[in-house]
Symmetry: D2
Subunit: 307 residues, 4 copies
């Protein structure tokens, strides 16, 4: 059970996993990317999330990536590791392996294959069993667009009573639900917006930060949005939110991980190709991403890497 | 074409239509309700919207209700009349009749029966044709839970260029979309939250008010929420929003119009029965509404009327 | 209450309403179309259904169309009139008016605007009230693609006990549901496929006929399919079903009423434009319909009418 | 590439994986179940499908189960092994391992986590890459209720041209789609119904068999249904289909794998508990399954095993 204080407030990029042309993990590229993120304003990084293509990695690869991420992340920053599997037992094992590899917390996506049986009771039992045996705090991860499962506010509120469950990342975009979770969960349970698209409205109803694909390329902007909100600058926050909506769509709902990787390439990081069955963007889609970045005021790198 | 200034900012109850036990409209009860709303803080009322059971009224009844509402509403307040029909021609006729009956603006729900053909082009053509010929400003009304049609942000943005289209009421709850519409539509086009459940986050991204079922029984609370937001009291606004989430669900998503009518009865207004095929709430459901009202701090009337 | 035998078995075109360029009903064109249908194999016609654009007609127009249809339909054929409205009372009135105008039965679409309140209890109460007071037999009409409401098998089975409810037209395409309704409803209750796309599989599980848009232009083919099925010619029936799948999509799910009207024009009938907000097909879409007709072996008329 | 003839026609139970109370695989129980299936009429078995809880097994366990199944299945019967993974490369590896373990064919579920990027192009590339390198024939597996991905008829038709893709199991229940795939795919490509609920209508439009959970406990009934259909006994086939609809729902859509396992226990086979996060049925649900079995005329075993 975690003993140290653990705070989810702030900006968290869910970092992509860099692959070479044959699908091999490029650990040196990962280190380069981390060097750059280390200089940007954020609370830490999430490794092995949806944007990390975790379902396309073996369990061993997932642990290896987290070990590498921890080694190359500034010591004062936190590393949250994705450890969700479809089975409860496998999720427990992987959570323990992630802690051993240096993760400060684990983030656990809802099991999803047997959707119709993922009742409130099943989800509560699953998360309780994992949190009971995880050596580090657990963050619930709800992402209906990928899983087809939408963990209800009631379930999150019930889970918030577990001392080893620190909060939830919710990517569903239902702010009424975010509001309920923020208002009705136990004191100290933290809610993170799962996308930059609804970051400001999420803050308005009580979220404390964001795990957002966009943070991989625009941590400064999201950090500034958070600062303005906290400072009571409603107009300034709204203006920044409005500027980011389209570019955020390009790297999330519209083009997914391949879109994020293209945006990484276009901003001087290493994005590279996704693993199959994900296909890289075609040139036309890439051009749309480029234009979105430009309109959103995201700095385009002088050189494009990877691809 | 409207020439006078028209401002959607503020709180708008979409008022229910009071029926007697045989389904007949009770105009005197309507006047009593209006007397009370006239003393509560709001910009005006919306008559003949979804909560007014417009699909269960004939076109003649819809006009008669609006005429009566205009007569009994304080002169400094606005009356927006629902005038949507499935056909474009019928919507034009009804909009003209509503203006003649004293409506200050019309609110036009998306046609919905031929869902798969309600393309962007079809919706733009429909609203343009109606706005061209409506004597009063038009408010677009998007309510996917009722219509199964979700008018896209792009369509709203395009429609915002029409001089006689004043704004949109969107009940879908997608704040990313609200943000886009607020940011990218023409100057002066106004966005209204279509439910109190996401009023604060909607304000955060640029909405200027709400047409919310809850305003029928809690206009003071919603008005206070708006005041706090405008005053930069983020914590106070959030606390009030949190308090209203459950009671709002009771009178919208959970129990619909019959829930709202029960809440009207329970707060000393006249709610009464809905028209068939809507069934009034059973006693158990009514009890849930009562408890929600209490928990939300909404004043319960000493006597229950109607039902 | 109907006293004469009433049989839904067979092929029924849900006939379109012919409009002129200004949206006016062209009764002479309607009569011409009926002259041709009178020479084709079918049990009768359905007037004022979804393909008749009933939501875009006034109640008066709907009755007038049925009166005209009855007058121009061969006396030994039946006319079923769409009489569904959103309110129960209005549906009763219109059903009575349809009977007075000569309809042999009415077909009543599910009320749909207050979707979340269209519970089993509400639907049973609605249909029971209408059937109690309709002078002619009632056919339940379930079309989720238009209404967003899916009347459950259990509801249909319960309604089948009403002596004035003759059957159901179900357009949802869920054959498991069709099988349940055919097997578990009262003796004599008849199930009709609501689309030619699943006509043969519907027959296999107990349906007795079809109300299918395609029957407007291919009654002979559908009649032959039914004959082959009844004769035990499984291979022949399957071959014909396969031939019709694509052309059926063109006049239903793919292009809707405008697609059907284009197909009418292309086969020597009068289709003409739909009423707004429905837009007529563009030239490219029209070409796809033409090709589908050709591939499906549907006779193309020498001259195109209307459009 | 497979050289021997391979025929999917007939009945295939997707067999469950028996677990002990701690979640351990009970290989002896598996052998017992297979001894019984060996005496029932079927073409072979599918191991490691959705009903085999494959997402809750490690890749190594999946291979071990198939090796065991092949060893205990009658030599003249075929074993189809589930080998789908989220990544293309891992699916290829597992397909090869399954062939080495004795599988006669592999069945490959659609990748599903990155739903919005599972375009036609991505799915064609994925299946082509796997089929190119699988030593045994490949069966495409489409199960939208679990995956949230619905592989389109067009994709199946394109894939049918690959010489190593033998057919498709489609569990979606859309018979129009089944009809299109049966009619428009290459000669020899075979379509299997993915559920007993729509077996007869699927046969009517050209399917040749079924991979159906119900076959685990009612292979004789499904085999008889197939016989009647082939013999032209439309009424007899329909009667049997009608009898099986409710019991089929109990072991599929209604209660899923836990429902099937309860039904196994109730019919004298070993069902036992599922792996977490799947929860076993409660007593009330179990009673519903018992009643469904009885009403469906499925023999209840004298003793209940497992549970």
């Amino acid at each position: 059970m975690a003993n140290r204080p653990f705070d989810l407030a702030g900006i968290w990029p869910p970092i992509p996993t860099p692959f070479g042309p044959g699908g091999e993990i490029l650990f040196d590229r990962l280190a380069q990317n981390l060097d750059r993120w280390n200089q940007e304003p954020m609370a830490g990084v999430v490794a092995g999330g949806s944007n990390g293509e975790f379902p396309l990695l073996s369990a061993e690869e997932r642990v290896e990536v987290v070990r590498h991420v921890r080694r190359h992340t500034a010591p004062d920053r936190l590393v949250i590791a994705g450890s969700g599997m479809q089975s409860t037992a496998a999720t427990i094992s992987l959570s323990q392996a992630m802690a051993a590899a240096g993760a400060d917390a684990v983030i656990v996506v809802t099991p999803s294959y047997y959707k119709s049986r993922m009742t409130a009771a099943a989800l509560v039992a699953h998360y309780t069993a994992v949190a009971d045996r995880s050596p580090v705090p657990l963050v619930v991860y709800n992402v209906p667009a990928n899983t087809g499962v939408d963990l209800a506010a009631e379930v999150a509120i019930e889970l918030s009573r577990h001392p080893n469950i620190a909060g939830i990342k919710d990517s569903g975009g239902d702010v009424v639900k975010l509001a309920r979770m923020a208002a009705e969960s136990r004191e100290g349970f933290q809610v993170l917006a799962g996308s930059a698209g609804f970051f400001l409205p999420a803050l308005a109803v009580g979220a404390v930060g964001a795990v957002a694909a966009l943070a991989n390329i625009a941590a400064a902007e999201l950090s500034e949005l958070l600062r303005r909100f906290r400072a009571g600058d409603a107009d300034g926050a709204r203006a920044l939110q409005a500027r980011l909506v389209d570019v955020n769509a390009a790297v999330t709902s519209r083009f997914g991980v391949p879109g994020l990787k293209a945006a990484m390439d276009l901003t001087g990081r290493y994005g590279g190709p996704p693993r199959l069955p994900l296909l890289p963007l075609g040139e036309a889609e890439r051009e749309i991403v480029r234009r979105s970045l430009k309109q959103g005021g995201i700095a385009i790198g002088r050189q494009e890497l990877g691809g």
